[in-house]
Symmetry: C2
Subunit: 183 residues, 2 copies
């Protein structure tokens, strides 16, 4: 039976705006082996599945520094300290797209990478989302919001137009909740 | 129209066993704004959907330092430099579970996080996988392989027993390829 390892010591290697990189000296309770695990101490994240009254999905197009490409995604971002996922979703949706919704419901959560990240990513359904015409992106964000029929979501994933794993998880949360037809 | 940013300078902040953390000074081609993007320079990853002749899925149970929990996942890991995803999948499957398959086929890929990671994660289908009875995990890995009927995969995700976003993507790759019934 596998057991949790015991943390012996923790050291912050680098502190950045979006995470801290830590080294966690840990000991196996099975073998006694000691190793240094690298962990990104990261805020919780949200992804927003915003659906308009016309049953259209709100998407964004933006430059992503990791991939060095323009990406199509759904809106999202990091929760502020103490901010619940529904509130974070409402804030990120408004900042990135200028849309406001009538309701924000957490559909589920995944872990972006439990091997070395300690956070979760929540999928939040934002129903009856409408554009206010205003956006307020961060200085490192240039974002182009657009809409597509909700039934086209699967095709964007399948054909590789959307390749962000956390957007894939959001799609699956919607599918599991019966909000989309089976692919 | 959003445009890619131009990289001006790159600095490695920390070099680790599993990634390099870099700061990439970049300039917006739209506004002229300059910012430092943080990027994890990370090897390509693979996730292995290994299916036995009895149509059972090979899973693993292991401690994950990021979540500080025991996790259920499918086997996977990082590609070695120059190693193609199918070969990496065969190697990781054998090391972590002791299984060997008759064929290894890339079903698709996602980006774990294009915002700040530059790598892709490939889902590799390993057909007719059988246990050799030997495993060879790394020293920081204590892994318990087990099998479940393939049709139980969706339930493990839906009920939160599997919460790793990249395993969710692997499930969806199988679903898109018609290897699983619609949920």
């Amino acid at each position: 039976m596998v057991k949790p390892w015991k943390e012996l010591d923790r050291q912050v290697l680098v502190s950045t705006r979006i995470f801290n990189l830590e080294k966690r000296r840990s000991r196996s309770e099975t073998s006694g082996t000691e190793v240094d695990f690298l962990v990104l101490d990261t805020p919780e994240w949200v992804n927003v599945a915003a659906v308009t009254p016309e049953n259209r999905l709100v998407l964004i197009r933006q430059y992503r520094a990791g991939s060095d490409k323009i990406a199509v995604e759904i809106p999202g971002g990091a929760c502020e300290p103490g901010e619940d996922p529904a509130a974070a979703a409402a804030r990120e949706l408004l900042e990135e797209t200028g849309y406001e919704a009538e309701s924000y419901t957490v559909l589920g959560e995944v872990r972006p990478n439990p091997a070395f990240m300690n956070n979760r990513c929540f999928t939040v359904l934002a129903m009856n989302a409408r554009s206010t015409g205003r956006t307020d992106p961060d200085e490192d964000e240039e974002i182009e919001p657009f809409e597509m029929p909700l039934e086209d979501f699967a095709g964007l994933l399948r054909e590789g137009h959307i390749d962000h794993a956390l957007v894939w998880a959001a799609y699956l949360h919607m599918l599991f909740h019966g909000l989309l037809p089976p692919p």
